[in-house]
Amino acid sequence: MSFDLREAATGAADPATVGGYGDHPERVGFFTDTSVCIGCKACEVACKEWNTLAEDGLNFTGMSYDNSVGLGADTWRHVAFIEQPRQLGRQETYLAPTELPGDLKRTAAGRTPVSLGLPASVPPDGVVGTVREMDFRWLMSSDVCKHCTYAACLDVCPTGSLFRTEFGTVVVQEDICNGCGYCVPACPYGVIDKRPTDGRVAKCTMCYDRLSVGQEPACAKSCPTDSIQFGELDELRERAAARVLALHAEGVDSARLYGADPNDGVGGAGAFFLLLDEPEVYGLPPDPVVTTRDLPAMWRRVGLAAAGLLVGLIAVTVSGASAPTRARR
C-alpha cells in the first residue's frame, strides 16, 4: 500500500470524513468571544467537575487574577488575565484622573506593571500615556484545546490513543494511552500534557461523552455571558466573522479572529477565538503550524540518510577489502 504523505499531513476538508466516518454529525466546535468574557472561571470549574480532574496547585502567582497559569493535564480550560494601559473601544476609564503632584507623577509615569516584571502589560506601542491620558483595559480569555483540523498530537500518537471523533474533535482514549509523551511536544499550542500521577496524557475532549447524547460541553453550558459558544463550526465561523465587523464598527479595532481560518497552519481550529490583542499576549502562538506538514520532507531526508549510511558503510568496508575475498572470485 502507498500513502501520499502530503495528504496524510494536510487531509481533505472534513476531518471526520477523512477519518472514515461515513455517516457523521456536523463538525462542532467552540467560538470563544473574549470581548464578552467576565473572567469568572466558571468554565474552568465546570470542566473539572464534569471530567473529575484533580485540583492542581494552590499557588498565588501575582499574574493578575490568573492562578491556574496555563493548560495542562488537569486544567483543560484556562482563563488568562491581562492588564494593559490601553483603551478598549471607546470605553472610558479614569484610573489616573487628575494631575498628580510632581513626585507622585514621576512614579506614576511608570504606571505599567512592567516595573513589576510582568512583561504582558507592556503598552502595545511601547509608550505609556501621560498620567492624565492613561488608558486601561483588562483582557480576559478562556483558552482551551483547539481541536485542530490537522492535529499534530493525533498525527504523532503511536498507539492510536489520540483519535478523531465523528464530531471532528480530537480525543485521548485513556484505555489506550501508554504515556509515550510524543504528543506533548508535538502540540504547537502547549495544550496536552502528561499526568505525573497516572502516566497518561490528558486534554479537553470537548465533552465527547456529552456530545454523544446531544448535550453541549460543560464549559459552554456554564458560561454566564455566552463568551464560550458551542455549535456547528461553520455556523460559528459565520457568526464570528460578523462579530468582528460589528466590533470594528464600534471602534474596537483590535478585535481579530484567531484559529478561524481553514487555510492556517493547522487547517483551522475546531475551537477558535475572538481576541483583542496579538495571540502571544494571551500565550498563544502567532502562527502555529502542524509539525507533520514538514514530515514528508523529513521522511525523504531519513531515506537519504539511511541509504547514505548503508552505502557509506559498505564503501568504507569494501574499499579496503583484503585479498581473500578477491581470491574467492
Binding site: 511536544p185 471602534g251 569494501v318
Partner: protein, 351 residues
C-alpha cells in the same frame, strides 16, 4: 448529512432566548465600550503599532516541553544509532572476511538495541502498555514507524549476535545478520525525524539536518565501537567508518547552527550548548587521531572511546537544546512573527 447522532438544537444550545424576540440581539453581541465617549479618540482605539520587541503572557512558555527523561530518550537516540550502524558495519565486515570485527559489532549492536528498548519502555508512563505501540501503523508518526522498525530489527540483531557468539545455527544467523544490516540504517536515521516532528523550535526547524547528523553520529559511534572490539588487523573499516561519520556529524552540526540563526542559541548556550561543544571536540580529536595516528592500536582505542563519547554528547546536547528552546517563548513567537512578517511583505509585493 445525517445528524441523527446529535439531536437538533445541540448546536444552538448556548442561544437560549426568553423574550420570544429573536430579532433582538443576544448578550453575546454586546459591544463593550461602544457607548463611551467617541470624542476622546475619534477612531476609537489607537490601531496597533506592530511591535519590534516580542511580547508574551507573563514570560510563560507557549509550548508544553517534552516530558521525556534525558537518560532514557537522549540515551535511546544514541544507542539506537550505535546499534543500527553497528549491524550494517558488522555485516559488511563479515562479508569481507573480518569475523572478529563482525562478532564484536554484532554483540555491541545487540547490547545497544537491548539497552535502547529498555530506555524506550522505561520512559513510558504506562510501561505495561508498550505493546500498544503495535496497535496501529502510522506513517504520520515516526515513533510508530520506529516501533515497527525495531520490532523487525531488534530480534534479528539479537539473533545475529547470538549466533555469532555461540557459533550455533550459522545459516539463520547469516540471514539475521543481513536483515539487521538492511534495517540498521533506518533504525539509525528515523530518530532524526522522531524529534524533528515536534513543535519544539530547535528540533523542528532542524529537520533538514537532523537525519544526516544522526546517521553521521551513528556511523562515528559504530566506528568507535569497532575500534574497541575489533582486532587491529581488521580495524580498517571501523577507522574509515569513524572518520566518515565524524566528518558528517561535524559538518551537519555546523550546517544546523548556521541555518537556524537566532534559533541556534539553545544549541550554543547552557547545558545543550556545552554538550554539543564537547561532542564536537571529542569527535574532531578522534578524527584527527585516526587520520594522523595510522594503525596505532592505542591511538585507535583512545579514538574509539572519544567517538562513542562524542556521539553521546551530541545526542544529549541536541536533546537539551530542544528543551531549552521550548522553555523560552521567544524561540516560539520570534520565528513565527518573522514568518508572518515575510508573508505580509510577499502579499504586498505587486504580482
Amino acid at each position: 448529512m445525517n445528524r441523527s447522532d446529535v439531536p437538533a438544537g445541540t448546536a444552538t444550545m448556548t442561544d437560549v432566548r426568553l423574550d420570544r424576540a429573536p430579532d433582538l440581539p443576544a448578550e453575546r453581541d454586546a459591544v463593550v465600550g461602544s457607548a463611551g465617549r467617541p470624542g476622546r479618540r475619534q477612531r476609537g482605539e489607537r490601531l496597533m503599532v506592530p511591535k519590534a520587541e516580542f511580547r508574551s503572557y507573563y514570560g510563560r512558555p507557549v509550548l508544553n516541553g517534552p516530558t521525556w527523561q534525558a537518560p532514557d530518550i537522549a540515551g535511546y537516540l544514541f544507542l539506537g544509532g550505535l546499534a543500527g550502524a553497528s549491524s550494517t558495519l558488522a555485516a559488511a565486515a563479515e562479508l569481507t572476511g573480518r569475523p572478529a570485527l563482525a562478532r564484536g559489532l554484532k554483540a555491541g549492536a545487540a547490547t545497544a538495541i537491548a539497552g535502547s528498548l529498555y530506555s524506550l519502555v522505561h520512559d513510558l508512563g504506562r510501561p505495561e502498555r508498550f505493546v500498544n505501540m503495535l496497535r496501529v501503523v502510522k506513517v504520520t508518526s515516526p515513533m510508530s514507524i520506529g516501533s515497527w522498525l525495531l520490532a523487525g530489527y531488534a530480534p534479528m540483531a539479537i539473533a545475529a549476535a547470538g549466533s555469532a557468539v555461540t557459533g550455533r545455527l550459522p545459516v539463520p544467523g547469516r540471514l539475521a545478520t543481513i536483515g539487521a544490516a538492511l534495517l540498521g540504517p533506518a533504525v539509525a536515521a528515523y530518530t532524526g525525524a522522531l524529534i524533528s516532528n515536534t513543535a519544539v523550535p530547535a528540533w523542528h526547524e532542524g529537520h533538514r539536518e537532523m537525519p544526516l547528523l544522526f546517521v553521521g553520529s551513528a556511523a562515528a559511534s559504530a566506528g568507535g565501537l569497532g575500534l574497541l572490539v575489533g582486532p587491529g588487523a581488521e580495524s580498517g573499516p571501523a577507522r574509515r567508518a569513524a572518520l566518515l561519520g565524524a566528518v558528517a556529524e561535524l559538518t551537519m552540526t555546523r550546517r544546523l547552527e548556521q541555518r537556524l540563526g537566532p534559533l541556534a542559541e539553545p544549541l550554543q548556550q547552557d547545558t545543550g550548548g556545552a554538550l554539543i561543544r564537547a561532542g564536537k571536540v571529542l569527535s574532531a580529536t578522534a578524527a584527527l587521531t585516526l587520520a594522523l595516528g595510522g594503525r596505532n592500536r592505542k591511538a585507535g582505542v583512545a579514538a574509539g572511546v572519544a567517538l562513542l563519547a562524542g556521539s553521546l554528547c551530541t545526542r544529549f546536547g541536541i536533546f537539551h537544546a530542544g528543551l531549552a528552546s521550548a522553555r523560552d517563548p521567544k524561540y516560539t513567537v520570534g520565528p513565527q512573527r518573522e514568518r508572518l512578517a515575510a508573508r505580509d511583505r510577499a502579499a504586498k509585493e505587486p504580482t
